[in-house]
Amino acid sequence: MADVLIIMTMGLPWLGALAVWLTGDRRPQVQHRLAVGFALAAALAALLLIGSTSSAVELRIAVGGAFGDFTFVPDGLGVFLAAVATVVGGLAVIFSVDYMHGEAQLGRYYTLVLLFIGAMAGLALSGSLLLLFIFWEITALCSYALISFYNDDPKAVAGGIKALIITQVGGVGMLAGALVAYVYLGDYQISTLLSRHQELPSGVLAVLAFGFLAAAAAKSAQVPFHTWLPGAMEAPTPVSALIHAATMVNAGVYLLARFYPVFEGVSGWTTAVVVVGVVSALLAALMALFATDLKAALAYSTISQLGYMVYAVGVGAVFASQFHLLSHAVFKALLFLSAGAVIHAVGTRDMRQMGGLGRQMPFNRAVFIVGALALAGLPVLNGFWSKELILEHGLHDGPAWAYGGMLAGAGLTALYTFRMVWLVFFGKSRRRDHVHDAGLMMRVATGALAVGTATTWLLVGAFGDLLEDSLPFHSLHVEPAGALLEEIVTAPATLVALLVVALGLLAWWFRDRLAWIGEAVPQVGQAAAADFGFNWLNRQIVDGTARTAEALRTTQTGYLNWNVLGIVAGFVVVLVVLAVG
C-alpha cells in the first residue's frame, strides 16, 4: 500500500506536468483544470501516506550493484515534508488559476510547477543519497526556470541565474559529501550512513558535515548565501509562495535535521549551525525592517524564520525545528499568496505606493493579518507555539548569547510585521483608482491556509508521535500534546518572549518618537538596505563566473578541428602527467 502511495505522491505531479505540456497553450481552461486536478490528487496521496508512516524501506527500485538500490522511506520527516510540499503546492496551483489567468505560456508555467512538486516529494521521501542529490538538483532547476519565467525581463533572468549558481555551489558540497560517504561505506543508503557513521574517520566526517551545511545554507538561503532569495522574488507570486517560502527553502533545514544524529558529534558543527541560524535570523530581520518591496520584505522574513529553524537544529531541538517548519510553511504561504492578491490588484510591489487598501480588500486584509500575527508570534496561532518551543529549547540547551539574539530577533519580527501590515492595508490611501478584492480561487487558497494557520498547532501531539516512532536514529522524546502545550504556556521564557514581541509592537506604535534612533545611526538603515555587503560579495561570485565564461568565449572558434585539437592536446597533457607522476 505504502509503495503505491509513494509512487502516486511523486508520479502524479509528473504525470500532470506531461499532460499539461501535451495539452498545449491553445486550451488554457483545460490546462488549469488538469494542473489543479493532478496537484490535488498528489496532495491526497501524500496525506494518505501519513497513515502508513514507517522507518522501513517501502519502495525499492533495483538499479544494479554499481549504484545501490534507489529506495524510498516514508518516515516521519519525509512524509511530513512531502505532505507540506504537495498540499501547499495544490493550494498554490489553485491560486494560480486566478493569478495566471490570461497569461501567455501557461503550459511552461504549470509543467515546471508540477515537476517541482513531484521532485520535492521525491527529495523528502528518498532513502538514497544519490537519489536525494538528483531530486535536490531538479528542484534547483525548476526554481531557476520559474524565477526566470518572465524571460523577457532582464531582472528576472539575472535573479534566476543568481539563484542557480549559488544553489549549485551548495549542491557541490552535498555531492562531495555523498561521494565521500560512498567511498568509505560502500553504500549510498541514508540509513547506512545514519547507523554506521562511527566507522568514518573524524576528518572525513567533518568534510561530510560541513559539505552538507554548505548545501543546506545555500538551499535555505542562510548567511552568507542568502542573497539569491530576494532576487528570486521576480518569479510569479504563487511560485514565490510555493518554492521560495513553503517548500524548497525548507530542504536545507530538512537535510540538517535528517543527518543531525551523524553530525552532532563533529566538533564545532553544532556551534557553526547555531551561528549561521542566529546571524541569518538577526540580519534578515533588520533587512526586512528597511525593505520597501513587499515581496522582498517577505523574502527577508523567510530567511529570518529559516534562521530560527537552523538554530533549533543547532541546539538539538529537531522536533521544534520541524514543528516551526510546518507552521512557517503554512503561514508564510498564506502571507505570500495574499500579498500576491494585493500585487495582482494594485500592479506594484512597492509598499510606499500602497496604503489604505484594507477598505477595498476586506477579505484579503483579514487573511493577511492572520498570517502576520502568526509570523509575529502572537498567542493561539501556530507561529506562537512553534517559536516559543524553539526559544524554550534554546534557553535550556543553547548558549546564552544565541538565545539573546533570537529573542531580539523575535522583537524585530513583530516590528517589521506590523510595519508591513500598516503600510499595505492601513493609513492614508495613496491611490485614487478602485482596487478589486481577491478572486474566488484566490480566496479558496488563502482561506484554507488561514484556517490552517489557526489550527495546525493542534496537531503537535500527533506530529510528535509521528517523528518519534519513525526516526530510530534521532532518539527523540516528545512529550504528549497536553503537557507540551502547558509547558509552553507556563514557561517563563514564553512570558519574556511575549514581552519582547509587545516591545516590538510598542516600538511601531511610538515610531515617531523613536525616529531619533534612526536619525542618530543612519548607517544601520543604509547598511541594511545594502544587505550588509553580502549582496556585493555574492554579486562578485556571480559576476566572476559570468566574466570567466565570457572570457573563455574567445577560445570557441566554431571550427570542429580546433575543438578536437584541444581534446587531443588535453589528453596528451594528462598522459604526460600520469607518466611523469
Binding site: 573563455l552 568565449r553 566554431g558 571550427y559 570542429l560 578541428n561 578536437v564 585539437l565
Partner: protein, 101 residues
C-alpha cells in the same frame, strides 16, 4: 606476444586513426565515420579490459551501452548532416560557425 596485447595495439591504432580523422576532416559525414572508428576502439578496449581482469561479462555489459550510444550518435549525426546539407548547401564544418564566440 599474447592475443590480448595484439588487441591492445589494435585499440591504439583505432583511437589514433579516429582522432586523426577528426583533426583533419572537414566533411560532416566523414566526421561521423571518424567518430565510429574512435568508438570501435573504445569498444575493443572495454572488452579487452574485461578479459584482462577476468570480468568479461561486465566488459560486455558496458560494451552494450557503448554500441547503443554509438548507433544513436551515428543516426542523429547523419540526420544532422542531411539537414545541414539541405539548409546550408554544403557539408563543410567550417560553414557552421554561426555560434563562434
Amino acid at each position: 606476444m599474447s592475443a590480448l596485447n595484439w588487441v591492445t595495439l589494435g585499440v591504439l591504432g583505432l583511437l589514433g586513426a579516429g582522432l586523426y580523422g577528426l583533426l583533419i576532416t572537414r566533411n560532416l559525414i566523414k566526421v561521423v565515420i571518424a567518430l565510429q572508428i574512435l568508438v570501435k576502439g573504445a569498444l575493443l578496449a572495454l572488452v579487452a579490459a574485461g578479459q584482462a581482469s577476468g570480468q568479461i561479462n561486465l566488459g560486455q555489459s558496458l560494451a552494450v551501452t557503448v554500441i547503443v550510444a554509438d548507433t544513436v550518435v551515428a543516426v542523429v549525426g547523419l540526420a544532422l548532416a542531411v539537414q545541414v546539407k539541405r539548409l546550408v548547401g554544403t557539408l563543410d564544418v567550417k560553414a557552421l560557425s554561426n555560434l563562434r564566440g
